[in-house]
């Protein structure tokens, strides 16, 4: 069985795509900054906002300059009722049109029984759910022409009777499907507050070698719960987690998400600078270790 495990891992590694550098999520409000900031390594577009027949010229031009990752928010990979095939096919077409290195989505569900929640929602961490998730991910991989990276979401509540923690669920998902991961350190920071666990312990068990890229974002504390708003400044705890990920040797690209309450340009530049600095520090530390 050991050789079979090794073969699976080898196959997975051969397909790995790692995005590098610092990125900023493309929104109409951030397009100007992405155009002007030459040091940006990549960007991300919300896949559901792209009309295949009318891709904005700004995005088409950007495709020549940097990798663009289609980021899905509505595939609902965690739906027990299965996937929407048209939605999945749309994701595949967007990836093709943008010549994307990979597609990212979430470990969550957002619709069931004809009810569209309109938001990424927690799934139960049970073996039954994991089996369904694996089946859905495999179905998605068969249709998408590029690798799939899955993101940990921020949650305000958890299902009862969890049979595993999230790191274990994600590790099994990676091993069973060969998918990659999008590690959102802001979501991890939020969940550590909301569900009172140690984020460092989570990272100890997290399969960092499967990370394709990282999300960084801001949020706010309200009534004792941390809300991942993408509309507030990036918190120190979020940057501290990014630093910890870097110290653990993960050099995958990190992308800043901002969806609302867009600040002055200087503020976004400073946040991007802070993210960039952690990447450069890790790279030079790694270089020093190699030359020592």
């Amino acid at each position: 069985m050991q050789w079979l495990w090794g073969l699976r891992r080898l196959r997975r590694l051969r397909r790995l795509r790692v995005i590098v550098g610092t990125g900023l999520g493309w929104r109409p409000e951030t397009a100007w900054l992405i155009d002007r900031r030459e040091s940006l390594g990549f960007t991300e577009v919300i896949a559901e906002s792209i009309c295949i027949t009318h891709v904005p010229r700004a995005i088409r031009q950007l495709r020549e300059r940097m990798p663009i990752v289609p980021h899905g928010i509505g595939l609902s990979l965690g739906s027990a009722e299965g996937l929407s095939v048209p939605h999945l096919e749309h994701l595949a077409r967007v990836a093709e049109v943008l010549d994307a290195p990979l597609v990212s989505e979430h470990v969550s569900f957002c619709r069931s029984g004809g009810v569209d929640i309109g938001h990424l929602t927690a799934i139960p961490r049970t073996h039954q759910m994991l089996e369904l998730l694996i089946a859905n991910v495999r179905q998605a991989q068969r249709v998408l022409g590029v690798p799939l990276a899955l993101e940990n979401i921020a949650t305000l509540f958890e299902w009862p009777d969890a049979e595993m923690d999230e790191s274990e669920l994600l590790r099994t998902l990676v091993n069973e499907t060969g998918c990659q991961l999008l590690l959102d350190v802001a979501n991890l920071s939020a969940n550590a507050i909301n569900h009172a666990f140690d984020a460092e312990h989570y990272l100890d068990r997290f399969p960092l070698d499967a990370v394709a890229y990282i999300h960084v974002a801001g949020g706010m504390l309200r009534d004792g719960l941390y809300h991942d708003t993408h509309a507030h400044p990036v918190s120190e705890s979020c940057l501290a987690l990014l630093q910890s990920v870097r110290h653990r040797g993960c050099n995958a690209g990190a992308l800043l998400e901002r969806d609302d309450r867009f600040p002055q340009p200087q503020v976004l530049h400073e946040e991007l600078d802070a993210i960039d600095q952690l990447r450069v520090m890790q790279a030079s530390a790694h270089g020093n270790r190699r030359s020592a």
């Binding site: 027990a80 069931s112 029984g113 309109g118 299902w159 009862p160 009777d161």
Partner: protein, 67 residues
């Protein structure tokens, strides 16, 4: 109750103020419902801003850039 039924019940609890599935914290679900409502209002306002704040010239440029 099947997993699919539980997910549907939760979706209804979040969107239609239905019963909260057993074992889930009703206060946390209420907080999540409130967040959803905020998000809906925010998204609608953002959409409105994007479609109404443009001058006719901007709209023309956008239409041309799509072609």
């Amino acid at each position: 109750m099947s997993l699919e039924e539980l997910q549907t019940q939760l979706a209804r609890a979040l969107v239609e103020d239905g019963d909260v599935p057993a074992g889930l914290d009703p206060r946390r679900i209420a907080a999540a419902r409130q967040t959803l409502e905020h998000k809906k209002v925010r998204d609608e306002a953002k959409q409105k801003r994007r479609t109404t704040s443009d001058s006719p010239l901007k709209k023309l440029i956008r239409a041309l850039s799509r072609s």
